[in-house]
Symmetry: C2
């Protein structure tokens, strides 16, 4: 036999196939969304307030306890699979049981149908199957009711009405990595200072952190009392600090770790009754996500703001995106929505986005707005549109579409006679925390605006999953809400949207929310946008925003209008203000007019405020999207644009993660350098004179406006202007 | 001070009140229906087939993991309550936390609101609170979402959209009687014979039973292999018996009990590898229900039929009413429906009825017919009407009404263009097991009949819960279905309902089901009923029924037409036939034309048939309702009637349970004796000459027909005729 190139090639292909065959990689699977609910139930019920269990006040949905997983086989040769499950299970091939609860079974060659049914009450029924070519993964089907009855003849029924979904999975890729055993990783961390104080000791970890206090060399009998503080004031105020732990010592222990992780910078520790310890340190607990985005510029304050934003988001990114690490440690849709957006510019960790979206939605029937908050339902819809744009993951939209529909059905069932939404009993119309009272009565324009955008999202997703009739229906609904909004809530004399209408009447109050969102939703003409800028955003008589939450959107509106200097200065003033006040992570609320311990109080409690709140981290998003200027314009960055904006900076540089790569940007007044590792898109820039590019052809768009195609080949392009 | 009678009376009343105050009896509470689901998930997932886990193929719903229990207090003086919970909990008084997870708290005097929130994933969140006057019970409210947010001012929200329900409870009346620890009681039982057989030993317990085989004096190393048999043939056929257990012995054990209870009369036991045991007996496992009904008559065969029916129903009454004790050990709505009716004449155990009804219904959303079977959905509706009539428990209907509505909404959403129901993909149109093929295609008249009755039940319950608009809507729907049924499915030439219509056409086939049900549903004129009797029931060319399941209704139809001799003879022949064939409990199916081991086979498996099936026990119902002749005519036996029917018997006697008492009946040709301990009703009887009564006034209704008012005072009335 002569080894021709062709034969060799065939051999190589054959060998590759064999290697692949041996390396089918299994992962643990479950009913989609169920593990997320289970994990979320555990997370959200870990909150304590001064040692008292403090759970959420909305419905906790549960996993299906009995799930059937199935796959179709077409095996070239027989193979043995090993089976691991969380729960009791059975295994059927072509409708016939293998005996018992087998650890492994031999699958015959040929076409077959493999079904494994798992039952588990306390954990999520989960399955891990590994064979030579057969392996559990998201291509497996899952259902909570197979409806496979056996008729009198002993045959299973043919016609099934069963709805199968793709199995859910994450990264539990070995048989021993049980989903139910998942814990966030920890690493040891030492305190930066300790000093005696009162009857105890004040320990400072140097910055806001989260984890498990760890005592070493514990002896004697008595109590160790731990008072946690995001501030030294809070830790040492043993009667009012928000979280405490009281540990009884009855015998010597080499290492004593507190049960649940807590948020703090300071620990104030008292012992009594004879308990002593030799050392105190902690185990820092964190989400294993990677900082894939970066930002640096010529302004060190902005760099510090970016770094603290990064840290804030990392701390509040846990099993899910939570609001704050001291409290509520719950998953709130409005808060999470901002975390998603920041995440796209920092970690690009899609599994955490998916988990959070699924947990927030829960299961049918819908009995309440998400977190009971009307606006939070709408952010949930909006998050799906963003998720698709940034990740390009259509499968997730397809999997979730039925639950999007039922969620929207709930919304539609609550419309008033004008087709608009008012807060009904049980609906929390939140919008924002404000220093002065703000009406939530009647038709609040902000809610209609978000509702309209949600309908547009439904239309978009309906189109995506191939439901043109749904798409048309949602488009028509959106158009009718938008029409009312633009015609009945836009006040010509005030050149702004009014805040609300009660019984069809407005009292003329204008707030910022609807107006600023309408800018970046692009619901307004350019003239209207300018009017909003002047009459609302830059108008000090309109109630100011005192949360980073809504400052996020206010600055986003200004960004989209090109007000980069304004935005940078606001950042320096507002986020810089928190740093000046001692922040090591960004806060739930910040009113620059307050001072000292006023900054710590909220909800009528002296330390009620969360000093590490995800919504404080928006500079990560704003700097990435509007200054590095990177954003997707087609799903999953298949097309993108890069519009670097220096504002008043001498230079800036950084990278923005894309699903499987990154876009790098450097800009100063003369030079722009960009590279992208996937997709393709245009670099847009201004230049006074004719610019030059190291590669590619610069197109002139208008006087002083240019663009240049950037291919996703990782190659750096240098533009000189 | 002079002790007048009046003063003494006041003192007694005062003392009574004090005693009551100290004896507030707590019981464990939970979200209504949730414990039932949890218990049912455990029960229904215990089935094995030859050691292989064999779960149901319909949706298993789960409990809410986070539940808030609350009650309003009005305390004359302060009191301490002790708190026990299954799960993690917190305690709030007037919206303020007590610290930690307190075992007991002091409640101040006055009006207060007490809230306790419990979280538990693996068991049902449950609560037990006992104070001097405060005690958990069904008067407590429960919700799975309190929607109680805290606004910026630290206040909880005022306007709630929360739906509270009455807490669920059963009989867990001490703090240590944890609902999650519930087990059916057991009692030791010895075998009646043991004999060596083949390589092992055949053990006979003398009759069908259920429980845990118990080995004593186990020694050596090796295996004990247990083959269960409802028949000796099954037990000794080690390759085909339906259930087995294989126990590995590795060290001496004084007592070795099998893990899960099984159904059997015979055990065939083999040991190998050197394992030995000294004794084999069992622990009989049973539901702690009381035989409150009784029946005796002059025919010993009928007495034995009643006794075996009683035993069959007791065996199949477990945590819930299941179908059969060998298999499926699942809760099937059509089977349970008959158990409820029998139960009203035997145990009158309402908690088991309530549990079963709740488990069958599950939670929203409805994704399938109950047990996937269309007819089974309808029996579920019918069961509520019966439940109310027999128990008078309106609260249960009120609690369940929302889930009745959503179940009916599912049905309505599946109507065809004529407003009728056909089997859609995933729907099992069952009707009955038949020996010949029976069409399930198109509009099956039996399904329309049950659908119509279900709509009538919805109307009745809507009226009961004060929803007249719903009532009118369901009445109109029922009337329209009934109109089609009577006009389009009644075949004038055949004087019977046809079986079905496919594309509007009937092939003229007549089956018994629709026809016999229409008699006792009273949908037919007397003339039509007589025609059905002649042309269908007594017509041997119409496919015969070979399950006790449908014989139940066939005989009920004949009972309502006064065909008592026919019914008694059929009982003797059919149920007597099973006894003659060796039955010690009644079977899933019985075809008198079969012989020997043919009786054991079903589903193409030699021992597939269940020899202890609830639906075999109908004589308990028929003899109580139509021969003792006792039934309620107003809810909860507030009004009843007694129509003793001797048929060909010399005498009969017995008692029928009522919610809080019983009705006793004795009759022979000359004398009737009755007493009732609650409610009131008429005794109806025939007499050739003028009858006499020991008390009360006999009214003549028509020639030979008389009635006499019976008061619920327990006094026996003797009528001589």
């Amino acid at each position: 036999m002569k080894w021709t190139f062709r034969k060799l090639l065939l051999l190589v292909i054959l060998l590759q196939a064999t290697v692949q065959a041996f390396s089918a990689n299994a992962t643990w699977i479950w009913y989609p969304g169920d593990y997320e609910l289970w994990l979320g139930n555990n997370l959200q019920n870990r909150r304590t307030e001064r040692g008292t269990f403090f759970p959420p006040f909305w419905k906790m949905d549960s996993h299906y306890s009995l799930v059937e997983f199935s796959t179709d086989l077409n095996l070239a040769e027989q193979e043995t699979i090993t089976i691991c499950a969380e729960g009791r299970y059975n295994v059927k091939l072509d409708g016939k049981f293998y005996p018992g609860m087998p650890d492994n079974v031999l699958l015959p060659a040929g076409k077959h149908s493999l079904n494994i049914k798992v039952f588990c009450l306390d954990r999520v029924p989960a399955l891990y199957v590994q064979g030579k070519t057969v392996a559990t993964g998201s291509q497996w089907k899952a259902t909570f009711e197979d409806k496979e009855w056996i008729d009198a003849s002993g045959r299973t029924s043919g016609k099934s009405g069963t709805i199968y979904r793709h199995a859910g999975s994450w990264n539990f890729n070995t048989s021993s990595a049980l989903p139910s055993a998942y814990k966030l990783p920890v690493s040891p961390m030492a305190a930066v200072s300790m000093e005696p104080k009162g009857k105890g000791m004040l320990v400072d970890f140097g910055k806001e952190t989260m984890g498990f206090p760890l005592f070493q060399g514990v002896e004697g009998k008595g109590w160790i009392r731990i008072y946690y503080g995001e501030s030294a004031e809070e830790a040492t105020d043993t009667l009012h600090c928000e979280t405490t732990d009281q540990i009884q010592v009855t015998a010597p222990v080499a290492k004593l770790q507190v049960n649940d992780s807590k948020a703090y910078r300071y620990l104030y520790i008292e012992t009594d009754g004879g308990a002593t310890f030799k050392q105190i340190s902690m185990l820092y607990e964190f989400a294993p996500v990677t900082e894939r985005g970066s930002f640096r510029c010529s302004d060190t304050l902005l760099n510090r703001i970016w770094d603290v934003s990064d840290y804030t988001l990392h701390l509040t990114t846990r099993e899910f995106f939570i609001d704050g690490i001291k409290r509520d440690r719950w998953v709130w849709s409005g808060d999470a929505y901002q975390s998603y957006l920041m995440n796209y510019y920092l970690f690009f960790d899609s599994p955490t986005v998916e988990r959070t979206i699924q947990l927030l939605r829960g299961k049918d029937p819908v009995t309440s707005h998400i977190n009971t908050i009307m606006d939070y339902t709408f952010y949930w819809f909006l998050s799906l549109s963003d998720y698709y744009l940034y990740t390009g993951d259509k499968t997730f939209i397809e999997q979730l579409y039925p639950r999007m529909e039922s969620m929207m059905q709930f919304v539609l069932s609550r419309r008033n006679s004008r087709g608009l939404l008012e807060g009904l009993p049980g609906d929390w119309v939140f919008i924002d925390w404000t220093d002065k009272e703000m009406s939530k009565q009647g038709e609040v324009s902000f809610e209609q605006l978000l509702y309209c955008r949600s309908l547009e999202t439904m239309a978009e997703c309906a189109g995506l999953v191939g439901k043109p009739a749904d798409q048309a229906r949602y488009e028509a609904l959106a158009a009718s809400v938008k029409h009312i909004l633009l015609n009945e809530f836009w006040d010509q004399s005030r050149q702004a949207f009014v805040h609300n209408k009660v019984n069809g009447q407005s009292d003329g109050v204008v707030t910022r929310y609807t107006n600023m969102f309408a800018i970046f939703f692009n619901y307004l003409t350019d003239k209207q946008k300018e009017a909003v800028k002047t009459h609302v955003i830059l108008n000090d008589s309109i109630m100011k925003i005192s949360t980073p939450y809504m400052r996020f959107y206010e600055l986003e509106a200004m960004c989209t209008m090109g007000e980069t200097d304004y935005v940078l200065n606001e950042m320096r003033h507002y986020w810089g203000g928190m740093l000046k006040a001692g922040a090591t992570s960004f806060w739930e609320k910040y009113n620059p007019e307050e001072t000292g311990v006023q900054h710590l109080a909220m909800y009528q409690r002296p330390y009620g405020k969360s000093l590490c709140h995800a919504w404080g981290a928006s500079p990560v998003y704003l700097l990435g999207k509007y200054f590095l200027g990177v954003k997707p314009v087609a799903p999953g960055y298949s097309r993108f644009e890069i519009r670097p904006e220096l504002g008043d900076l001498n230079w800036l540089k950084g990278s923005v993660p894309t699903p499987n790569g990154q876009i790098k940007v450097y800009a100063n007044a003369r030079t722009i350098k960009v590279s992208a590792s996937e997709g393709e898109g245009y670099l847009y820039f201004k230049a006074a004179k004719k610019p030059k590019a190291s590669t590619g052809m610069i197109e002139k768009m208008a006087s002083g406006d240019f663009r240049l195609l950037v291919k996703g080949d990782g190659q750096e392009i240098v533009v000189t202007r």
